[in-house]
Symmetry: C2
Subunit: 277 residues, 2 copies
Amino acid sequence: MAGKNVLIVYAHQSSGSFNAAAKDVAVKVLTEKGCTVDVSDLYEINFKATATVEDITGGVKDPDCFSYAEETKLAWEEDKLSSDIVKEQSKLKKADLVIFQFPMYWFSVPAIMKGWIDRVLTLGFAFSPEKRYSEGMFRDKKAILSFTTGSFESMFSPNAINGDMNVTLWPLQNGILHYCGFQVLGPQIFWAPAHVSRSDCSTMLDGWRARLQNLLNEQPIDFPLLEYFEKDTGFQLKPEIVELRATEELGISVGIHQGKKVPPNNQMRWHVKENRF
Amino acid sequence: MAGKNVLIVYAHQSSGSFNAAAKDVAVKVLTEKGCTVDVSDLYEINFKATATVEDITGGVKDPDCFSYAEETKLAWEEDKLSSDIVKEQSKLKKADLVIFQFPMYWFSVPAIMKGWIDRVLTLGFAFSPEKRYSEGMFRDKKAILSFTTGSFESMFSPNAINGDMNVTLWPLQNGILHYCGFQVLGPQIFWAPAHVSRSDCSTMLDGWRARLQNLLNEQPIDFPLLEYFEKDTGFQLKPEIVELRATEELGISVGIHQGKKVPPNNQMRWHVKENRF
């Protein structure tokens, strides 16, 4: 892993938090391994979360019917994005691995991190109609969600009140990370650190410390290739792929479940690539 | 519907946008129906999206290990929340229906709306360990997500590249709205208005206008009752519920799929309450 660049996008208000400790462990281990580690400490830099016209310097093309995606694409092409966005994009550009470290708020990332996603992953820079998913801009980069929950693991099962964690992960891992092409590593989930003993918290951090030793060599989660989908039918699975999978009891993924059973823990870890044809 | 209070939480930067038109249609129809309609225009009021210590006036209990949930709960109890949060909470308190109107950004709400969710739905005010889901604080209120997408509907199917829209809706509708007890009405999805003709946009708005006539009388989406889950086993389904459903081919919901097939369009509309025992 020596020589690799790592960006940690970090969102917690307090340096005394479990999230801070998890971030610090990552910085330490990866630096020791010879990586160059950069941290975007979003609360510390008071990162602007909201997608507004101020993200574009100079005038916009259509002020009467402002489209954030279109206007920021143009601004990116013309070097007119605001300096805080440019700064994050340049960190992201050189990163081989991006770690998102955050407390889960309302089954998703906190607003300040959603703001980083909304503002930094500009159309043109992070994706285009042609460069998405397995053909995505960042297909040479890896990314991982590392987060704490308020609930215990038992509550996030396919038989429990919060539902399958894999369903909650899908929009984040498929809809943001894989959408931009990232190779998505299995999430690092710290279950309810606020509700367990200090010793259990230490054990969780030890697990993270151990995993980090070899993190960059892990196999990413399997997503179907873009070429399995037919552009002319609105990116539906090609008939030959459906045919090849006809006797499979399980769908391809939690999102692309094909009306079949959901493959267990599909968004949690690498599985044998049974969906490659 | 006369006499009802409606709150529209609205997040678009431009008054010339499709989202603005959808919001305006809702204000007009519901006002004509005799409702009192309040709009929180988040970009217009420059709503603060980030959850910080400034949300609490006066000192916090544990500045060295700041927990946003715990500190804001305390601040809510002691009337120390910042005035912008208090203002939104007082609007929410009197609302019979909340409409969230937004463009989908990255398979979720824009950061400014996530900020409203993170900051306004305070522990104690919006939920507590005892008052969640079907026993939630807001079980006498209704809520609906009304949003535009960048992709066409075909891309959000169980056989397409973005995956089943129901999976994407689960964390929002179950994890936020139903979590607080809201009766969740089927989402109003405006598919890719930026990519269709002006006339197709008008047709979509006409559909919304028609639906609004009777919106408050719609049956909400069905979620399993809190009492179906066993607190002592981490809110897993009670054995007797599992037993009662043993011969069912489909799971209870897209999230609580029980390792079975996902019920089609489970998060889209009311279905016959086949999961009530």
